[in-house]
Amino acid sequence: MIRDKKTLLILFGMPVMQILIFGFALTNEVKNSRILVADYAKDVASQQITARIEASRYFDVEKTILDHKQIESAFKEGKIKLALIFPERFNEDLLHQNKAQIQLIADASDPNIANTLTAYSSSIIQDYQNGLNTTYSPPYRIETEIRMLYNPQLKGAHSFVPGVMALVLMLVCVMMTAISIVREKETGTMEILLVSPFRPLLIIISKTVPYLFLSLINVISILLLSVFVLKLPVNGSVLLLFAESTLFIITCLSLGIFISIKSATQQAAMTVSLMGMLLPTIMFSGFMFPVENMPLPLQIISNIVPAKWFYIIAKSIMIKGLGITALWKETLILAGMGVFLLIISLKSFKIRLS
Amino acid sequence: MKIQTVDRELSIKTEKLSKRFGQFTAVNEITFDVHKGEIFGFLGANGAGKTTAMRMLCGLSTPTSGKAQIAGFDVYKHTEDIKRNIGYMSQKFSLYEDLTVLENIRFFGGIYGLSNQQLKTKSEQLITQLGIQQEAKKLVSSLPLGWKQKLSFSVAVLHEPEIVFLDEPTGGVDPVTRRQFWNLIYEASDRGITIFVTTHYMDEAEYCNRISIMVDGKIEALDTPANLKQRFNASSMDDVFYQLARGAQRTEG
């Protein structure tokens, strides 16, 4: 076994990697979330609460007063996860009516994060309220009015459907393509195809086109299920979603072709696809673990995972109902990756055996 | 616990041994004996049931019906005893490619419970016998195929088993090495080890004391090569085999 370097690497390298990644990087805990405080009151109470929230390590506070429309677009662009709105005369209400209201608006396209954030902020406000009540005899009540944007019922399906789409497409396209091409190498049929008038490019196309269609069928069935069974509407353009899915599928297929060219056995292709592709997809796409909370190096790494971009795109189209104008940047990145991978894999496809 | 047969001159004794997979009878009531120290050739066309029969005899697969005793042990009840008293080598499985020659010898010797002292003398003896002193510390993967096969055989008989099963041991090996390999077989047989061998080389069939030819799961012929040639009025074993296997119905699964 000493001579089997690969096994050694997997055996000892994997646990170290996993512990480090899961221990430090991948937590469901929400830290440094960008939130917006819109303080229309600007009085003692509102500023004290804001100060407390700013002091918390969970939040990264931006203080501006925006109108309702601007707040909404800040959410759409994904700039903020939560908005805290103090109405005018907040302190006055509190002192004279013993009762005041704060509005909390959360981006519920990721229900977990939304829940956590509202709970954190509510408890800070609660704390403040309890502090007041030790000094003043009639109890003050600060009511928090919570609004869950995009996903009022906090359905988990909202975030997992786009995630599953990314995962399934990755799995089908990368692993299946890689394995099916490598299998031809193993059975010797690749040798025959090479020694035939068939052009290498045609071999690749004929191996990948079926998977492109299969994957599109997968997309359709996932969407049908989510619309009719999970009652989750697609808020944005279905056509755009398809176009983006196709783009992602092509990126994945190119990746699959590349893996198949580099691996000699089905087993190797499988290992690379699983370890090198599926794991990063789960960890870095933002579907299981929020990317925002990872240490900076991992956040940078997450940028090279195609699934991350597709997840953002799919989620934005399905839940937030955004169009291409809001998503052109992500689309461009994904397209760039696709073209890059396609070129590399076509370049490295050999017309000979070695 | 060793069950003594009436005649312990026999290394292998089977009676109507059969193996069925659902509707398909892979091995159909084969009955034969192999004497101690005999070189027994086990021939048959592709898919005749050789591999299945061999697996049963090695204690790797339980028969559907019939009786068999290997080295005096019952194939149903004492498979572990059987495994301890046989050696096995095939073209596909031979040695650990990423261990050295010496390490392989020590490893396989260790499995069969040889002591350190025994291992030391045995491995020296074996390396001298094969004339591979220079290569003893080299990885097996760097050896030519013929050497690997010879080494692999020597390792299979390292623990002096009563029987050694050889599954196409010489496939693809050059003619000189092939004969050196058979010399090893003869030497082992001289020491009293029973040899049970399958091959596609018909000239090798001639080197066996007796051979059986399986067709469609049954043993169609079993005798010395000379007697078989006489019976089928054939000039070579090739011809005998051709006459018997030509009528085969069954194809490999």
């Binding site: 010797g188 049929t189 008038p197 | 195929l145 004969r179 047989s189 090569p225 000379a226 490999e252």
Partner: protein, 314 residues
């Protein structure tokens, strides 16, 4: 012009530059059945891969059907048929589907060249709806041969088509090749079985990447320099041990039921007189009966390709 011309091809592998093919040259005439005979690891597959344009040689030149294997590799791919050693067809496709798949790949139809494969295909036609994975070794080979032939190649490369196949199927396979030869298709075939050598028009004996000899099987046999005797007695093993010490013995090897003993020729090669033969035979007999052997048979025998191979190796 010759169908295949190979001029000092060398191919090495790995960091240590192990020679798989070491400066090999030969040529194959149009319509010839040429055999590469040698054990595993001799370099047969590498030669095939170089000629089918799958591998680039380190040095040397070769042409197939007049086209250079490096420059004109596409033209070669258009016109040759190739059956790799580990080739196992598409296991999940039926016999017929496999065949029509390869026909499509080569831009033809089963109908167009049915004549060529008819003889062979008829034998597997009853199983045409069976999946290739469920066929026997012999039938798989016939199907593979059909697939390699479907586009009427001018040169057919068959890498170890009979390895691991039982003697009956092997015999049938060679008979098919002989019939194909009549169709003017040049065939290069490799095999580790020496007894198949005589079925080729010309052969090359190959070991460790080098050609030991390349000629017709008859000439190779004819150029065997020593006198060869077939000896039989009770126990082959002790017989071999004993014959090794015979005074004129060059080498002795088991050959089926006999032991082949080669003896130094007294005169020039190939010119043994019956008297000389008689003397040698008697000498061997006497020597063996002195050593206590019974049922001794000694006779002069013709060498086989295997004898020649062994001689060339020593």
């Amino acid at each position: 012009m010759d169908a295949v011309i190979v001029d000092s091809i060398t191919k090495t592998y790995g960091k240590e530059k192990t020679h798989a093919v070491n400066g090999v040259s030969f040529s194959v005439k149009k319509g010839e059945l040429f055999g590469l005979i040698g054990p595993d690891g001799a370099g047969k597959t590498s030669i095939f891969r170089v000629l089918t344009t799958l591998l680039l040689p380190d040095s040397g030149r070769a042409s197939v059907d007049g086209f250079d294997i490096v420059k004109d590799f596409r033209k070669i791919r258009d016109r040759v048929g190739y059956m790799p050693g580990k080739f196992s067809l598409y296991q999940d496709l039926t016999v017929e589907e496999n065949l029509s798949f390869f026909a499509t790949v080569f831009g033809t139809t089963i109908k167009e060249n049915y004549n060529l494969i008819k003889d062979i295909y008829i034998q597997i036609e009853p199983f045409k709806d069976r999946r290739a994975g469920k066929l026997s070794g012999g039938m798989k080979q016939k199907l593979a041969l059909c697939c390699a032939l479907i586009h009427k190649p001018s040169v057919l490369f068959l890498d170890e088509p009979t390895t691991g196949v039982d003697p009956v199927s092997r015999k049938e396979f060679w008979e098919m090749l002989r019939r194909l030869r009549e169709q003017e298709i040049t065939i290069i075939v490799s095999t580790p079985y020496m007894d198949e050598a005589t079925r080729c028009d010309r052969i090359a004996l190959i070991q460790n990447g080098n050609f030991l000899s390349a000629d017709t099987p008859e000439s190779i046999i004819h150029s065997y320099p020593d006198m060869l005797y077939a000896v039989k007695a009770e126990n082959i093993y002790t017989l071999i041990q004993s014959l090794k010490n015979f005074e004129n013995a060059l080498s002795c090897h088991a050959f089926g039921e006999y032991v082949h003993l080669s003896v130094k020729p007294a005169l020039l090669k190939g010119t043994t007189t019956p008297a000389e033969d008689h003397k040698n035979t008697e000498d061997i007999k006497n020597y063996l009966s002195m050593a206590g052997f019974k049922d001794i048979v000694v006779k002069k025998t013709e060498p086989t390709i295997e004898d020649c191979f062994i001689k060339l190796l020593s």
